[in-house]
């Protein structure tokens, strides 16, 4: 049991206590929503962890270091932006994958570019954006968004090396 797990349990229990105090069915609703989220993401999580297991086993450390490692600089930031767009799934799936890349030697600036690019530009998110918002909005939002991971990674590179 690490610190993060304990902190998250404290937050979960505090929110659960708040929901219970409201006495308007929020506690049950929250529980049902939690179960729904778990069921929806369960299969994906298992697959994602199998992927993490294989990446860990194969540990393409040299490949990662030469592409997005400490010496990769701006090239690494641009590659990380492209890679971030391709990352599939929500945080439950993507964060373990990014962690294993970071542990295998990706630089801090490339890792931050990767998280930011996944968060703002991911193609799978765009597949939800298009039907709801139309291509004009998506083009404007995504087009302006192209600069965000580069800014985030660039600032990290300039400040923290």
């Amino acid at each position: 049991m690490n610190t993060a797990t304990i902190v998250l349990w404290v937050i979960a229990l505090a929110l659960g206590g708040w929901a219970w105090k409201k006495r308007d069915g929020s506690l049950k609703k929250g529980g049902v929503l939690a179960w729904k989220t778990a069921r929806q993401n369960g299969a994906l999580l298992v697959i994602a962890f199998v992927i993490v297991g294989y990446i860990d086993l194969l540990s393409p450390t040299e490949l990662i270091q030469s592409w997005i490692g400490p010496q990769s600089g701006w090239k690494g930031i641009f590659l990380a932006e492209g890679l971030g767009m391709l990352l599939p799934g929500g945080p439950y799936v993507v964060f373990p994958l990014i962690t294993i890349l970071y542990q295998s030697g990706a630089s801090l600036s490339a890792t931050i570019t990767l998280v930011t690019s996944w968060a703002t530009l991911a193609f799978l998110t765009v597949s939800f954006e298009l039907p709801f918002m139309g291509w004009r909005f998506t083009l404007i939002r995504w087009g302006l968004g192209l600069s965000i991971p580069l800014i985030a990674g660039g600032v990290t590179l300039l400040i923290m090396g």
């Binding site: 529980g31 989220t37 992927i51 860990d56 964060f95 909005f137």
Partner: protein
């Protein structure tokens, strides 16, 4: 089909990696990767349960209607700031916030408000924060939040300045 597209992509990636492992070390490597994934997953289960409970309670406690009300009538930079706040607070994936963004668009929100809302959801997301902290660690998470903190209102403001004239076309486009 879209519902399972993530599954399909992930399974293809898994097959690709499993093939690489098999070619590198035969059946033992194939099994070893699976076992390593399973043990990592088992290790993270207490954390994942807490994360799912937090997400569930947040969704139950924060009312979608309240967030929509904060934004609907607002205009100008104050509206953009409110949109950022709402985007940051609203939990759930793209299947949850794009329907809300569409409702805002239909009820008259401007392009700046909408771009700010989506970008703040992507960059500020409070409901994702515990997960990000827990899995990615404090250094990556704090650095990323600090560096991208000003981006949502800024990009909303830029979008309002450059693309305000397109909003009627956008609104018509989704009605067609």
């Amino acid at each position: 089909m879209r519902k399972y597209s993530i599954h399909i992509i992930l399974i293809l990636v898994t097959c690709f990696l499993a093939t690489l492992a098999y070619r590198q070390g035969g059946l033992p490597s194939l099994a070893q990767g699976l076992l390593r994934g399973a043990s990592l997953l088992l290790h993270e289960i207490p954390l994942l349960i807490a994360a799912f409970l937090t997400a569930g309670f947040l969704q139950a406690l924060i009312q979608k209607e309240t967030v929509t009300r904060w934004l609907g009538e607002e205009a100008g930079f104050k509206g953009i700031l409110l949109a950022c706040l709402a985007g940051g607070l609203i939990p759930g994936g793209p299947y949850a916030y794009y329907p809300i963004a569409q409702a805002l668009l239909k009820s008259g929100a401007g392009i700046g408000v909408l771009v700010a809302f989506v970008t703040a959801k992507n960059l500020w997301s409070v409901s994702r924060l515990p997960m990000e902290f827990a899995i990615l660690g404090s250094q990556i998470t704090i650095t990323r939040y600090l560096i991208t903190f000003l981006i949502p209102p800024l990009i909303g403001w830029i979008a309002a300045g450059l693309f305000s004239h397109t909003i009627n076309n956008i609104r018509q486009g989704i009605r067609e």
